[in-house]
């Protein structure tokens, strides 16, 4: 079987494509919208905004989330801000500029038309969120304030203290609650999607587990929107929330959705370093800190002095040294890699020597402690709670950690996957960030997809396709449910000697060591081999106590780990096949003499899209060639 990977990019000049497409798309008459039901899985920025907007338009929405309420989706943890091309600071920003920065930031591995549309609707997002009562930071004159983020030379980031994601998510959530009250959204909490139901080649429903009762439930609809976030937790330790997982997307992959660029992972440069093997997650310190913090390591190996006692000329402010024009605001992939290089050279600091300093001494001297507290007070408090160090007095210690996944289910310009009717939004899709995402762009993309893209394209899909009547009694639903039941009883029946988390940690070590910040052929092969063995051990030695009749947290974990084990292998395979370095994908074999990523545009200007071919055969790698008509491919330089 071969995939149809037509991106369906509208013809015409870049800046007119979206308007033209909106005009040409079919629409559902207002009175007919109530005849359609749409399933939205996930209630983060993408899912929450899509559910609310589709319900406002008149569709019947069934919304599902894994937490106890939709307000807890992991978008809530985004700290620093959201980009938009408003140009309020008058520093020369524009839609074209935001488009260009995003394409370049993604190391020329994203689709031009999608990224341009993202930049176009970015301004509507800010307007919409303000009108919903999001208290963005303001100047004394009452106007909105902006700050800068990595990979940009303008200030285009809107923020609400250090908790922008929270405020935006609560905005989207409140819109949802409004439509729940009106009866247009039926909200199902503590549900985990276990499978996608495909009828006559179209996505028509889902199987979910009610996490409280343990029962499986079936839901049918005319279209399914998957908004289930990224798969960073395949590394076990990441900045993602504990419940964030890849299973919903993975089950769709196994039902025929292409998985694009799984190896494109973002390692965020500023996280609190790992401190013990009991550690359950990593905590991000917002990129916004790099506006005022200076990153450095001692020049001397095995330095034992306290940071304050190390004189200026014995410190290496390496980002400022190597990238004078972007300095501490170099993009995430570049900054992370440089931190790793310093630690590999033996210049790391702290008890594990796997950390670098992020120092606010000079900023406090320049602007005063109060000003710094106003900008980052909550982050400083959080840092102190976790580490017992006070960053006003001593530099933070930071190290890169897995944060975001640019890869995801392949979608066309309409955000539709290779399965008709299955649309994928937000971090769960692969579309806009190429091989590296710029800071403050995830919130922008989630909300763009949910508020301003999917509501139009879903209408087009529904109006263009005849919908046969489908009920949850159909065979496809029964079969899908049986398959989940079978897997569940298998997991419960093994009664082995290791916990699911133990396997997850072991997988995480393979991923971090060989499929992390720096990759090479031998390591990737080792990872593939090791993960395969680990998967076999999992299915013969995992221990899942309890049964399916209640809230069984070990069963939930085990089912997710089973999917992570398969995804991890695909990520390593994708990384092995991509014989170039680009963005977050750094292959040691392909680098410039000064250790920068060396792309191979001749052979790899494409998205790699993987097709599942069964449990016992290898997945097939397809390509969507990326065509650059408006941007000239260049070597990314932040020097």
């Amino acid at each position: 079987m071969s995939f149809n990977l037509d991106p369906k990019i509208p013809a015409g000049p870049l800046s007119e494509k979206w308007d033209k497409h909106k005009f040409e798309m079919k629409r559902v008459n207002p009175a007919n919208k109530r005849k359609y039901t749409v399933i939205v899985v996930g209630t983060g920025l993408a899912g929450g905004s899509a559910a609310a907007t589709l319900a406002e338009l008149g569709y019947n929405v069934l919304s599902f989330c894994i937490q106890d309420t939709p307000r807890r989706a992991h978008s809530i943890a985004a700290q620093g801000g959201i980009n938009a091309a408003k140009n309020y600071p008058n520093d020369g920003d524009s839609v074209k500029n935001l488009f260009y920065d995003t394409i370049k930031g993604g190391d020329y591995r994203a689709r031009e038309a999608n990224v341009y549309r993202l930049a176009q609707v970015s301004n509507n997002i800010i307007d919409q969120m303000v009108s919903q009562g999001v208290p963005f930071a303001r100047e004394y004159g009452g106007y909105l304030d902006n700050r800068s983020f990595g990979g940009a030379q303008v200030s285009r980031t809107f923020y609400a203290r250090g908790q922008t994601g929270q405020q935006l998510l609560l905005g989207a959530y409140s819109g949802m609650m409004k439509m729940v009250a009106k009866g247009k959204i039926k909200q199902f909490s503590r549900r985990e999607m276990m499978d996608l139901v495909v009828v006559n080649g179209k996505a028509r429903g889902i199987i979910v587990r009610n996490l409280i009762t343990g029962e499986l439930e079936r839901y049918a609809a005319d279209a399914v929107l998957l908004c289930t976030g990224g798969y960073g937790n395949v590394f076990y330790l990441s900045t993602n929330a504990k419940a964030s997982n890849a299973s919903a997307a993975w089950r769709c992959y196994k039902r025929g959705a292409g998985f694009a660029n799984p190896c494109f992972t973002q390692i965020h440069p500023t996280c609190i370093p790992v401190h013990g093997d009991y550690q359950s997650k990593l905590t991000l310190m917002s990129e916004s800190l790099r506006n005022d913090g200076r990153v450095w390591v001692p020049k001397k190996k095995d330095e034992t002095r306290k940071p304050a006692d190390i004189p200026e000329d014995e410190r290496d402010y390496y980002l400022e040294r190597i990238y004078p024009s972007f300095g501490n605001l170099a993009p995430r992939d570049v900054s992370s890699r440089q931190a790793k290089f310093r630690c590999d050279e033996g210049l790391g600091v702290g008890p594990t020597r796997q950390a670098v300093y992020l120092d606010f001494r000079d900023a406090i001297k320049r602007d005063g402690k109060e000003a710094i507290a106003g900008r980052y007070g909550n982050l400083f408090e959080m840092y102190e709670r976790i580490t017992a160090d006070n960053p006003y007095e001593t530099p933070m210690m930071i190290y890169p950690a897995v944060h975001y996944t640019m890869g995801g289910l392949w979608v066309d310009y309409n955000l539709q996957s290779t399965i008709p009717g299955l649309h994928v939004l937000g971090e769960a899709n692969f579309s806009d960030h190429g091989a590296n995402r710029l800071g403050a762009s995830a919130l922008m993309q989630g909300l763009a997809d949910g508020y301003f893209v999917a509501p139009y394209t879903i209408g087009n899909y529904l109006a263009s396709n005849p919908m046969e009547k489908v009920t949850t009694e159909d065979k496809a639903f029964k079969d899908a449910e049986e398959a989940v039941k079978l897997q569940t009883s298998k997991l419960l029946g093994i009664k082995g000697k290791r916990t699911a988390t133990d396997f997850h940690k072991a997988l995480g070590h393979y991923m971090w060591d060989y499929v992390g910040m720096s990759r090479n052929e031998a390591g990737l092969k080792k990872a593939i081999d090791g993960i395969r063995k680990l998967k076999e051990e999992f299915w013969s030695d995992v221990n899942v106590p309890g049964d399916t009749s209640n809230f069984n947290i070990e069963l939930h974990t085990a089912a997710r780990v089973a999917d992570f084990l398969e995804l991890g292998e695909l990520m390593a395979l994708d990384a092995l096949e991509r014989n170039e370095s680009c963005g977050g994908h750094f292959r040691e074999e392909y680098q410039t003499p000064d250790n920068e990523a060396r792309r191979d545009d001749e052979h790899f200007t494409h998205a790699a899209v993987w097709e599942y071919t069964g449990a016992n055969s290898s997945p097939v790698r397809h390509k969507e060639e990326l065509v650059f008509e408006n941007v000239k491919l260049a070597t990314r330089s932040y020097k």
Partner: protein, 263 residues
């Protein structure tokens, strides 16, 4: 700052199979607890031991583990989130405890929050209060330019103070009356302060308060336990603002039924 060395702790943890069964405190002992562990990581270690013995682990709610999602809960030694200033349970670290300590861990207890299992409770009543008006009716596509309506910085800042609520329900669990006035007041106050939200403020205050009262939440009698335990430091001034909005609306707000007519 107490320990720098690994500790042994005695835990008394509430175990309850489901909402309809009876629960009880069960004793556990956890060894080798590092002071750098978070409180939830300490429970992870215990759960790992339980699973290896073939027992069911302790069910508890958690997700982001960085103090923002509001999913974690627990009464630790009788206090919501342990009672540390501006701290959620997931941000409590074991360096706050000493070797040999006994810690009592229970679920949030309030009539509006029925127990699901062990330490996990059902807080869907918070969503129901929000559905009664915790939003601005601004459908997607309606919005004027974001800078069209200016908001003085002190007002925006105050609205942000209220908006910081994470909806964890610690205020309800700490209140002797099991009142949800702090989280509800925070939302009413945030939206009343902002011009975008002020339009619907009277109706919002009336509907949210009425809904709150039907869901098993108690009333506010100014104990201020909620403010003391709120992990986001939300002030009871927001309850006062909600009360003013409510009173104003109770006297002045009447929704007249008018026929819109066909065009």
């Amino acid at each position: 700052m107490a320990s720098t060395q690994n500790m042994t702790l005695n835990l008394k943890i509430w175990r309850q199979k489901n909402n309809s069964s009876e629960g009880k405190l069960v004793d556990y002992r956890v060894e080798n607890v590092s002071p750098d562990m978070s409180f939830l990581e300490m429970i992870d270690v215990l759960n790992n031991q339980l699973v290896m013995k073939g027992e069911e682990p302790i069910a508890f709610d958690h997700d982001c583990r960085e103090g923002i999602c509001g999913m974690c809960s627990m009464m630790i030694d009788g206090k919501a989130h342990g009672g540390y200033k501006n701290t959620t349970t997931c941000q409590v670290h074991m360096r706050l405890y000493k070797d040999g300590d006994t810690i009592v861990i229970e679920p949030f207890r309030a009539s509006a929050f029925p127990i699901v299992k062990d330490l996990a409770v059902d807080r869907s009543a918070i969503d129901k209060v929000m559905q009664a008006g915790g939003y601005v009716t601004a459908n997607t596509g309606n919005a004027p330019d974001a800078n069209a309506i200016l908001i003085p910085k002190p007002i925006a800042d105050e609205a942000m103070d209220a908006a910081a609520c994470i909806g964890c329900g610690a205020c309800v669990a700490s209140c002797p009356n099991g009142s949800g006035m702090l989280f509800m007041g925070a939302k009413v106050s945030q939206l009343a302060l902002l011009p975008q939200g002020a339009v619907e403020s009277p109706k919002r205050a009336l509907n949210m308060v009425h809904t709150h009262d039907t869901l098993g939440f108690g009333n506010c009698t100014n104990h201020a336990e909620c403010e003391a335990t709120c992990p986001k430091g939300i002030s009871i001034e927001h309850i006062a603002r909600m009360n003013r909005e409510y009173l104003k609306a109770a006297f002045t707000y009447h929704e007249k039924k008018r026929s819109e007519g066909a065009g």
